[in-house]
């Protein structure tokens, strides 16, 4: 047998275990979900074939649009903030100080916690009357009692803040790696030309890590669209439905309202949104790459 054929076979054998799990648990549900979305389907199984009725109903479902709106709001507000903070922290972690290793560890550590732990931390910190934040505010002389988890605006701030604390370390590490790949000669050349530190950051660092910024942007947007566990555990999507993201609405429709057909429909809507976003992103970054050549 030719070597390349042997290599091909051993590659396939190594990929097979993961491939099987991927096909069964990721690819198959995607296909099956489309099938379920055409039915009235409950926990006991399929009921009636309804064709595109679920899709039509989705467009007039106020709760669907509200939940989508919340998720969009989260994506649009947090993506730039998280990327900027990851970049700033990476700058801090890249400077030659004695605390360099300490900073890197400390800012990355929250990422290893599970989302349940992070959510409960948020609840205990921001609880009224006895939470850490409010008792600290009272010690500092603040007399009011901010209801962090009951006021919709404050609740969103809590969710965005705790998610940032939890996940910024990951993007920061990607940036640190990218920054270390920047050749020192560029900085030397810049300082010979009389550039200040700030100028160097803007004209050397940021352009050189642009590919990483692109990847982080794509990953961050997709991850933000999948927002569910934190609001679910911190505010249950409340008060009322003020902090309910689309995935929570899908979850409630499937498992609380026993309507898996409609839930699958909405999952597909979300999938299409992310697909369109990714395609636009690919086209734009492909165009840019060609322009730069």
């Amino acid at each position: 047998m030719k070597k390349s054929a042997r290599d091909g076979i051993s590659a396939a054998v190594f990929l097979l275990p993961y491939g099987i799990l991927y096909a069964v648990f990721i690819l198959w549900p995607v296909v099956f979900g489309a099938y379920v979305s055409l039915y009235k389907w409950n926990m006991m199984g399929a009921e009636d074939f309804v064709g595109f009725t679920n899709y039509v109903n989705m467009f007039t479902d106020g709760s669907f649009w509200e939940a989508m709106g919340h998720t969009f709001l989260f994506v649009v507000i947090t993506t730039p903030i998280y990327i900027v903070f990851a970049f700033l922290l990476a700058l801090l972690c890249n400077r030659e100080t004695i605390f360099k290793r300490f900073y890197r560890t400390v800012y990355f550590m929250p990422y290893v916690l599970s989302v349940s732990v992070v959510s409960y931390l948020a609840v205990f910190m921001f609880q009224p009357y006895t939470g850490l934040i409010n008792t600290t505010l009272h010690m500092l002389g603040v007399s009011g009692e901010p209801f962090w988890l009951a006021n919709p605006t404050l609740a969103w701030i809590v969710i965005m803040f705790i998610t940032m604390w939890w996940t910024v370390g990951f993007n920061m590490v990607l940036y640190v790696a990218a920054m270390q790949d920047i050749p020192d000669e560029l900085y030397e050349a810049a300082s010979i030309d009389g550039a200040s530190r700030a100028r160097m950051t803007f004209s050397v660092t940021i352009p050189m890590i642009k590919p990483t910024t692109g990847v982080i942007f794509l990953l961050q947007v997709i991850a933000s669209f999948k927002l569910f566990a934190q609001p679910y555990m911190i505010t249950s999507g409340g008060p009322g439905t003020a902090t309910r993201p689309i995935i929570q609405y899908i979850y409630e429709t499937a498992f609380k309202k026993n309507n898996l057909g409609y839930a699958s429909t909405m999952s597909y809507a979300l999938f299409i949104v992310l697909l369109i976003f990714t395609l636009i992103y690919q086209v734009l970054s492909g165009r840019k790459a060609r322009a730069e050549k």
Binding site: K40, V123, Q127, P128, Y129, E145, F147, L149, A150, N151, P152, S236, G238, P239, G240, T241, A242, E252, K256, K257, N258, N259, Y262
Partner: protein
């Protein structure tokens, strides 16, 4: 047993009733002088719920600073349970029609119920605002709250709290009826494709044993469904239970519909917005009716 019978057929074996009740801290109430000669809170019943309000306001004024009268949450299932109890006391019945297809809420009584509740937070301030729905019982457990509205299932935790001398009374008759929210755990046998008679009989023997030995289950706080178990000394000798034996007669169970849980969530999600002031009660119940009707059609 009536609740587990549908169209003349038995569908499940009830093992308990668990209902809404008032927990009271004996130490705190005695110190405030708010107990009757029987050691229970001397709440004046009826008078359109005013008696309860007066009691809570008086209690609040007599408690030391840092303590408060009543622990209850403005979020989640407990909002529904509190509202449902008052709604039924006012004469509203179950909100799903007998045929299970439409929502029938008596809006006037529904609004009256939620306004009564809301005043306890905003007008009389006898309940601190925004207590967490999972952790508000902690306030009773820590002896910050003199009273707590909760289901009887909390009895076990409270009974095992050191230093907490408490009692439980069924949800009192504040309005026209002595109704309280309640539900029931039932044992069922799912329909099998191939029925093994031997296993079915074994399962039924077990279910029977569970019902008869309800006093053991009752240690968790639930009220046994099987009458001899409920009236047995094994059950009634448990702390606080003797007051609950008759609670079962005023319990209002949910409608016999597969949709009560989704509808319950619709109700409390909308009631939360009334309690936090962002939606007016009339508008909220209009939304509730629309959403429940949509849910019942799906």
């Amino acid at each position: 047993m009536t609740a587990s019978t549908f169209n003349g057929k038995h569908y499940s074996i009830p093992i308990d009733t668990h209902c809404y009740a008032i927990f009271y801290n004996k130490t705190m109430l005695k110190a405030a002088g708010m107990v009757g000669s029987d050691g229970k809170p001397n709440i004046t019943l009826g008078n359109n719920g005013q008696g309860f309000i007066d009691y809570l306001v008086a209690l609040k004024s007599k408690l030391p600073s840092g303590k408060f009268a009543l622990a209850e949450t403005e979020k989640g299932d407990d909002v529904y349970r509190f509202w449902f109890s008052i709604y039924n006391q006012l004469g509203g019945k179950n909100f799903i029609s007998a045929d299970g297809k439409t929502c029938k809420i008596d809006t006037e009584k529904a609004v009256k119920a939620i306004n009564y509740m809301k005043d306890l937070w905003t007008k009389y301030k006898v309940i601190p605002e925004n207590l967490d729905n999972n952790h508000f019982p902690d306030q009773f457990q820590n002896q910050n709250a003199a009273l707590m509205l909760n289901g009887v299932w909390s009895i076990y935790t409270m009974a095992n709290t050191n230093g907490l001398d408490f009692g439980v009374i069924p949800f009192p008759k504040l309005f026209d009826n002595a109704s309280a929210w309640g539900d029931s755990h039932n044992l069922i046998l799912p329909k099998q494709k191939n029925l093994d008679k031997g296993r079915e009989e074994a399962a039924l023997t077990f279910m029977n044993w569970v019902a008869e030995n309800g006093a053991i289950w009752g240690q968790a706080g639930h009220i046994p469904a099987y009458t001899p178990a409920r009236e047995s000394s094994a059950y009634t000798s448990l702390p606080g239970r003797s007051d609950l034996v008759n609670a079962v007669s005023s319990v209002v169970f949910p409608s016999q519909s597969a949709q009560t849980w989704p509808c319950k969530q619709i109700i409390y999600q909308n009631l939360e917005t009334v309690l936090n002031g962002s939606v007016q009660p009339d508008a909220a119940f209009k939304t509730i009716e629309e959403q429940i009707n949509k849910q019942l059609k799906s």
